[in-house]
């Protein structure tokens, strides 16, 4: 092996090692920082871990929003029509937060089963349904359109149909 080849080999080996280290670090960082999504049913079934940041989503149950009188603390429940999850949030809710609206919550579950939210996401427009929430509803045999239609026609019994 001549000098040039040897040097080139060293460069290639060095690069491979660098990339390997980088990818390992990346995957490690990724493992630490991914937020898994759980539906209310899974949370009620105690499938979700406590004390670790997770995401949850569903429809904000009608009549469940309760604000504290002196602070920004707000509590509400999120439902997938199978189970309910109580959420507590201290902060400013997004513009599109509304009862009967699909939302996604990022937060940690405490021992009592309340989701302590660090972020509440309700995005974009009236008809927007977060993808995960749509999937959850789908499992219950409802497409977002069905849900909206059912809601509009007043067919949906639980929670009470709320007209937009």
């Amino acid at each position: 092996m001549n000098a040039v080849r040897k040097r080139r080999l060293m460069i290639v080996l060095g690069l491979v090692a660098l990339v390997a280290v980088a990818v390992t670090l990346m995957l490690f960082a990724l493992r630490q920082n991914i937020n898994l999504f759980y539906s209310p049913e899974q949370i009620a079934g105690q499938e979700a871990p406590t004390g670790r940041q997770i995401r949850a989503g569903g429809i904000v149950e009608k009549g469940s929003v309760d604000r504290n009188q002196d602070s920004l603390v707000v509590t509400f429940t999120v439902t997938d029509f199978k189970a309910r999850v109580p959420v507590r949030f201290d902060g400013i809710l997004p513009d599109l937060f509304r009862e009967g609206q699909g939302i996604v919550v990022i937060g940690t579950l405490d021992a009592s089963g309340t989701l302590d939210a660090s972020q509440v996401l309700a995005k974009h427009d009236e008809n927007y349904m977060p993808k995960e929430v749509a999937d959850v509803l789908d499992k219950e045999g409802l497409s977002p359109e069905d849900y909206r239609a059912a809601r509009a026609e007043g067919k949906l019994s639980y929670p009470e149909a709320d007209r937009p």
Partner: protein
Amino acid sequence: MLIDVLPEYGVYALILALALSLLQAVVPLIGAWQRRPLWMAFAQPMAWGQCLFLSLAFVALALGFLFNDFSVDYIANNSNSALPWYYRLCAVWGSHEGSMLLWSLLLSLWGLLVSVFSRSLPRDMLARVLGILGIISSGFLLFILLTSNPFTRTLPAAPAEGADLNPLLQDPGLIVHPPMLYMGYVGFSVAFAFAMAALLGGRLDAAWTRWARPWTTVAWAFLSLGIALGSWWAYYELGWGGWWFWDPVENASLMPWLVGTALMHSLAATEKRGTFKSWTVLLAICTFSLSLLGTFLVRSGVLTSVHSFASDPSRGIFILALLGLTVGGALLVFALRAPQVKSPVSFGWLSRDAFLLFNNIILLVMAITVLLGTLYPLILSSLGLGSISVGPPYFNALFVPLATVLCLFMGLGPLSRWKRMPKGELIKRCALGALVALVVGIGAPLMVGERPWHVSVALGLVLALWVAMTSLRDVVASALRHGLKGPARLSRSHYGMVLGHLGLAVSIVGITLVSNYHVERNVRLNVGQAVEVGGYRFKMTNLADVPGPNYQATRATLQVTRDGALIDLMHPEKRFYTARRQALTETALDAGLTRDLYVALGEELDNGDWALRVQVKPFVRWIWLGGVLMALGGGLAVWDKRYRRPIRRLGEKPS
């Protein structure tokens, strides 16, 4: 009336543009392959014609918006007669179909510019470059005509009123951000076309890099500006006060920027020294592929974000196919042609070449980091392995160390010479800069700051100062040696480099200070109540209902004082857009070079209280100021004299 049939003319113009771009894709490439001058000569007129017809289509759509032609689906969905005229005009690119049209228009504009400023190019090279651009253009025009025609009509029952533009987009940001960003995205297609033309022509010498360099730099400058504008827009419009969210859509623009930055520097090495030839070509392919990937991510509807309009799966598949064909084809050509290229040039480990190579790799690793964090959730969910999201901590954890190393080499690069740099001289050149950076960077937050010293602040400042000092060193050294004449003798492209590097340093200062020292409080206020945030006292003095052209607003007045002195009256608004029945937060800003005051109205609570988001953000403007400096640096580099004097033809005699 002409105005009634404008949309039909628009479609007609699009079809003509497609026909011309198909010709532009096929004829010149065959001509270059068969060496037929007449066939090659097809390239330029086709590029001009394509640009002309796309402009006509664009004007047709814009006029439709101006005159409220709601029989056109796209206009009905994204405009409203109550919308001010300038937003109606910008609504042209406010959603999917129109923004694809803008994309194609800009692509043809780049093609036009290449064909105009190409007198120094060999004829076959020009034919190939325009041919490649024609292929890309055909793909996008087919995409528009087959899946996202902006001129589709709803006849005969046209709606009387439009559904209005998304309120988030009704902002001056919409006027400038998308065109700038697209200019950047699309501009990398020129670098790509040059690389492919060089590969196809089998002339992968340094010549193609000389032609490709200014184009790449301009595209990069536009992209830098576009990203900075986007960040600024998100900052004041989304009402959170964040300037970067690691949102997949932001990531989609950051990836081509990172690889494009690597490409720009690698092109310099290839042009000056003939090194990294294959690597540069590969980077050109990667950059444009990432631009396309960004388009796919944003436009396919796989992501849900303010930017993703299309949820029609056929569109996603079409762009994915386009992406696959482009990347696959390009890599195939690369695999077939590149092994013939050898770089006989050698360089030592301490040399500008080596430092550029290191930073190229780091920039690439950064891009891969972003790519992984962006695609991982998509891959998992498409494989049915659960739904996850990757949080900002992932990106921050990886970006800070990578950026640290990047900045270290960024400082060493401009100080060293090509090929070989003696260790002693390198140390001598950077010693002063390093010392000043360390002392000031660690000391300044101790001396000036009202806040506790923090290691990440010191790190950020040291790095920023290091980059700034080292990039300015040559200017200062030549001034010391030759007086005022010294700096005048340095080339414009040198000053472009200085400005670009200074821009990054400025951005780093902004990022460091705002990340560590910003103060944020969410409070509950009523008229007459006050809150103290970061040394400023915010007192709500008034709440009023204010009507707007297409919305109803509640406007609060906040009196801001510091130590009793009045600083500003701020007016945050909560708007309710009637046509879309959508609420929007309009933040109030008191902007300054060293700090921004930021107030956003949250929601109305019981008994007239309002939730308010009050923030003090030190040095946040520096982030975007840095972006602007970088873009200016790019512009200055292209303004260099050597790009304006006629370049002698390389490799081919003029015939």
